[in-house]
């Protein structure tokens, strides 16, 4: 389990450096977003996505997936969806999630917010027999 966590941290470090460069200064990407899936099956860490994101900017971020006890989960199928809280518009793009270089590391690409305000993002995860999802808010300025 400790090993798993260490791997997670490493993956995040690498991925995060890349995102910080790509995303510029606006939106603070220094702190990862840590999430637990609704039914508690997975732990998800997003690096390079800020709770407060900026508008009209196509970007990507790193997603690390682990079991509840911290083992990296490779080969999962992951879908990211989003809708605007008030007008219920979906995202203007279709982001994709693809596996990264290490187990448990994924890369989300093609995310853009075109309307300011609260967005609800949902990550749906399928791995072997288990399915779970997590929803969280991003505030777009």
């Amino acid at each position: 389990m400790l090993l798993g966590l260490a791997a997670l941290v490493l993956v995040d470090k690498a991925a995060h450096g890349e995102d910080a460069r790509r995303n510029g200064a606006r939106g603070d990407h220094s702190a990862p977003i840590d999430l637990h899936s609704a039914a508690g099956r997975f732990r998800i860490r997003l690096a390079g996505l800020a709770r407060e994101e900026r508008l009209n900017h196509l970007h990507g971020f790193a997603l690390s997936l682990a079991t509840a006890d911290g083992q990296p989960v490779g080969g999962a199928s992951i879908v990211l969806r989003g809708k605007q809280r008030t007008a219920l518009n979906p995202l203007p793009t279709l982001p994709r999630v693809r596996p990264g270089p290490r187990p448990g590391a994924y890369r989300v690409e093609g995310l853009r917010f075109h309307v300011s305000g609260a967005w609800l993002l949902e990550i749906a995860i399928e791995f072997e027999q288990s399915r779970d999802h997590v929803a969280f808010d991003i505030d777009v300025k």
Binding site: L55, N56, L58, A87, N89, P90, L91, P92, T93, L94, P95, R96, E109, G110, R112, H114, V115, S116, G117, K141
Partner: protein, 415 residues
């Protein structure tokens, strides 16, 4: 009441008035909150970055290509009857529009001509976004039977036959293709578009009264008197940015006042179209983005196509395009709101003559004939709609481009 007292009162009132005049209305309206200032900052031109690189056009920043593009933009020889140029419908003095409801070239097009000022920042081109670059957009105008009506082979014939054009072409792109070399003609035709795009990339909006006003606020100084927004303009701006009132920022955001996406706001097809074709609502044209997305994906001149200079993986917009989604039906691109004072009439249909007519659209919320309008009733008064309009007028500015790019090139003038 004593007459003397009245006189004194009137005097006092005059003094107060004077004071108000000397201290422009900043103090008369509530000051902008920190949150509002944050929003205002995102709308000023100083927040506009340089346009993103266009990986599909390796000539995009080439000054020789831009000069050549400038000549082509004004050149009527690239049209079937030698009387139409890009500049016919995109006139510099009208912020690159044409003052007509529907643009007229070789025929009458079914659309109002949008401005091209700042177009280098666009993600998609045309009202339905059926093009993904400035250069491939230009090719469509040249070949459209209603605009230039010039098939690509004939364009190349014109370039070959005119020494001035031919020499420019060869100096930038190398040898012209042989007549009948279809592949070569396509490539050369794409180059023509790339030169025009290099020119268009230089045409940017310059600061407006609004920008100078906000700059002053952000630097915590008093705006110059001519840059200070009036009470009405200020109130309009407040309504515009408010999430409770105007909610305009949902779509008209960023320094160009567009989110570069597609929304259905219930604007019908042009009346002229409706009269001519009873089934216009069924036409591809009226489907908006839902059709535009499919067209751009199938376009031989798109970013992933063989005439593009992009490497694999560089066409992110096409890679992540949203298609076939219900909200895209009847949805059209959000236009910029800069320089509206010079770009009447309005909307893709050109059916709104004045800004007041546009405000009427947002007041009356017509139902969409195709798809579903996203607009909701706005809790704002008639006066506030007038104020919105007053604010929109503060977005007029000079065009930021080399001065000679705003005039026909010397050769075209001499002709």
């Amino acid at each position: 009441m004593q007459p003397l007292f009245l006189v004194a009162l009137a005097g006092l009132a005059l003094c107060a008035l004077d004071a108000a005049r000397a201290q422009p209305a900043r103090d008369a309206t509530p000051a902008w909150t920190a949150a509002e200032l944050d929003i205002l900052r995102t709308l000023t031109l100083s927040s506009l970055p340089r346009p993103a690189r266009d990986p599909s056009n390796k000539y995009a920043e080439d000054p020789r290509a831009a000069d050549f593009g400038h000549r082509l933009f004004f050149d009527t020889r690239l049209s079937a009857n030698s009387s139409v140029a890009c500049a016919t419908c995109h006139q510099p003095a009208r912020a690159f529009t044409d003052a007509r409801p529907l643009a007229v070239g070789i025929g009458v097009t079914p659309r109002n001509a949008p401005t091209i000022v700042g177009a280098a920042h666009n993600v998609w081109f045309f009202w339905d976004g059926r093009k993904d670059s400035l250069w491939s957009q230009a090719l469509a105008s040249i070949e459209s039977p209603l605009e230039h009506d010039m098939p690509r082979a004939r364009v190349l014939d014109v370039i070959r036959a005119n020494r001035d054009l031919g020499a420019d072409y060869v100096a930038i792109f190398g040898a012209l293709p042989a007549q009948g070399d279809r592949e070569g003609v396509n490539r050369a035709f794409a180059n023509i578009g790339k030169a025009i795009a290099a020119y268009e990339r230089r045409i940017m909006p310059g600061p407006a009264k609004f920008d100078r006003y906000v700059e002053a606020l952000l630097e915590d100084r008093r705006p110059a008197p001519q840059d200070d927004l009036t009470l009405d303009e200020r109130q309009g701006l407040r309504v515009f940015i408010s999430d409770q009132l105007g909610r305009c920022l949902r779509c008209h955001n960023g320094p160009l006042f567009t989110n570069q996406h597609f929304h259905n706001i219930g604007v019908a097809e042009p009346q002229r179209q409706e009269r001519a074709h009873a089934d216009v609502a069924q036409s591809i044209l009226a489907q908006g983005r839902i059709a535009g997305a499919e067209i751009v994906l199938a376009d031989e001149f798109n970013c992933t196509g063989k005439y593009s200079d992009a490497r694999p993986g560089e066409c992110a917009e096409l890679d992540f395009i949203r298609r076939d989604s219900p909200e895209l039906l009847g949805a059209f691109k959000v236009p910029t709101l800069r320089n509206l004072t010079r770009t009447a009439p309005y909307m893709r249909s050109g059916d709104r003559r004045t800004l007041e007519d546009v405000m009427w659209h947002y007041r009356t919320l017509p139902q969409a004939r195709v798809g579903k309008s996203e607009l909701n009733d706005l809790p704002i008064t008639a006066t506030e709609f007038d104020q919105l309009e007053a604010f929109l007028r503060t977005l007029e500015g000079q065009i930021d481009a080399p001065a000679l790019y705003l005039r026909p090139p010397i050769s075209a003038q001499a002709k």
